[in-house]
């Protein structure tokens, strides 16, 4: 069982790659136009023409699922980038410089962690409005404390190490030490966190969109599809089941990848 992480890594990589391929393909090709309505053939079950059936406007569900992957990847990538960037700056300042800045910044991170994630996101969309851009910003902000904590502990440990002291003694600027010397050495826990953060962003986006407070139609999103499908479960169960499975798969893939990567870096588990 010592090689468990390699199973995790493989499963994660396979799922993420498959999803990525689907996303790239969907940019150029979907079986039907995902937005083309055909009210006469609404809420159909699976047929050879529509392998997942059609939704309440007669749109091809499979095509919409494919296109929805673009939203999922965009939301995950952008919000992780936002969270990682802000978290790195905050954690860097707190860990590297320490003192009152550390105290102030990390206590506010503690305060942010106190909010259940979805509440932070809801708070921001209340004020800034719905839509994909604001959802990504809200989810990015939601992820900041996690990245900040990890970055802080990395910088905190690294600043006492010889190579940092040496760099300092020959007059390398703090900024350069932080981002050119230290960052490459503490990057792996951040990559793990980014992978897990990607998963939680996808999950949170789905939740918000399901509530009708996230990605808005006509932007395709698996969460929005769940929002639209709930009323029609009896007539077209696949309309609800398919997007849920896609969300689960993508989240699962990134969780596995992140966990596998973490164990790979953990000498005790190797």
């Amino acid at each position: 069982m010592k090689r468990e992480y390699s199973v995790y890594l493989k499963v994660g990589t396979v799922i993420i790659t498959a999803m990525l391929i689907m996303m790239v393909v969907s940019i150029f090709f979907t079986p039907y136009d995902p937005e083309k309505m055909d009210v006469e053939h609404r809420l159909q079950g699976p047929t050879w023409k529509h392998i997942l059936g059609t939704d309440n406007f007669g749109r091809d569900i499979f095509s919409r699922i494919m296109q929805g992957s673009q939203t999922a990847f965009t939301v995950g990538l952008v919000s992780v980038t936002i969270g990682l960037t802000i978290g790195l700056v905050i954690g860097g300042i707190a860990g590297y410089f320490g003192g009152w800045a550390d105290n102030l910044l990390m206590r506010s991170m503690d305060a942010m962690i106190a909010f259940p994630g979805i509440i932070i996101a809801l708070m921001f969309v209340t004020i800034w409005g719905y839509g994909i851009t604001n959802t990504m910003i809200a989810l990015g902000i939601m992820a900041v404390p996690r990245f900040a904590r990890i970055a802080r502990s990395g910088f905190l440990q690294a600043k006492e190490l010889m190579y940092v002291k040496m760099a300092k003694s020959i007059g390398v600027s703090n900024l350069r030490i932080m981002f050119v010397h230290i960052l490459p050495n503490i990057i792996s826990p951040l990559i793990v966190a980014a992978s897990l953060g990607f998963a939680s962003a996808v999950l949170a986006e789905a939740g918000l969109s399901y509530l009708g407070l996230g990605v808005q139609p006509p932007d395709p999103s698996w969460g929005t599809m769940l929002h639209e499908s709930q009323l029609y479960f009896n007539r077209a169960p696949l309309f609800s089941i398919a997007p849920g499975i896609m969300i689960t798969l993508l989240v699962f893939g990134f969780n596995m990848f992140g966990d596998g990567l973490r164990d790979l870096n953990d000498p005790r588990k190797r």
């Binding site: 506010s108 942010m112 106190a114 004020i127 789905a206 939740g207 399901y210 169960p237 699962f252």
Partner: protein, 312 residues
Amino acid sequence: MNYLIKRTVSIVFILLFVSILTFLVFEVIPGDPVLAKLGIDADEAQVEALREELGLNRPLAVRYASWISNAVKGDLGTSIRFDMPVMDLIKDRLGLTALITAMSLILIIVVGFPLGILIARHENIFGLGLSLLSQVGMAIPSFWLGIIITSVFGLSLKLFVPGQYVPIAEDPRAGFSYLFFVVLAIAIPNIAVIVRYLRDSVLEQKGQDYIRTARSKGGGENYIMYNHILRNALLPVITVLGMLTANVLGGSLVVEKVFNVPGIGRLLIMAVSTQDLPLVEGIVLYLAAIVVLINFGVDLLYRVIDPRINLT
């Protein structure tokens, strides 16, 4: 005692930060609430008058001070949509959400711990399979699970009528059995979380030297499992319970909508979609404060249970 004082002070600070964050988020709203109310072509005097009336001409710090002192006294302002004190609205709904959260936590503990131990005991392909399954469980969105549960148990098996929550005060049996399905949707992904943490924790203990010593002294597998490994492995999992509470509460906020349960989540979502800022602000502050206090409680519990940690 020293530790307790230190922890309490830090909790007070965190609560202070929570309230400042909430206040600032709602204060830096893009656009001027006064202009929004009066229209862009309102004249200076009118604008000034309304500013005065709403207290918006005072410095930010003064406004925060009066807002937070009111909040501590239980006055969170008035909801725009309901035209009622925010506190009363929260009080009406909080009980149900608290009940759902408590029931979910109980289910998570009662199912999660034995399951986690069972999985941890099997360090073979079966264990790996179950551990993969728990990873899948963690990835399932609870609201989607709610939709599936509604259709399977509600629409097909007719064990409850979807969307028709019966208040517990009216009919305890119907009420609780309805809530059971709500709780199921919230609990399953979180059971997976507990299982996973417990398994990691047990596996970590298994590799420790003291276990090898126990084994070399001739301790049976069961004896070692229950008297050595679990006693040490369970402790770190308790800290996860604090995090789970926030998870469960957040899950409940969304799942309430799936099952149409009139808890605080429905209120919050209604408040968000009608832009009822005082109501959103009040709920956010209230829930965050609860989560902070629960985490504080869990932390204390941890210190009490683990005799190795000195409280002084």
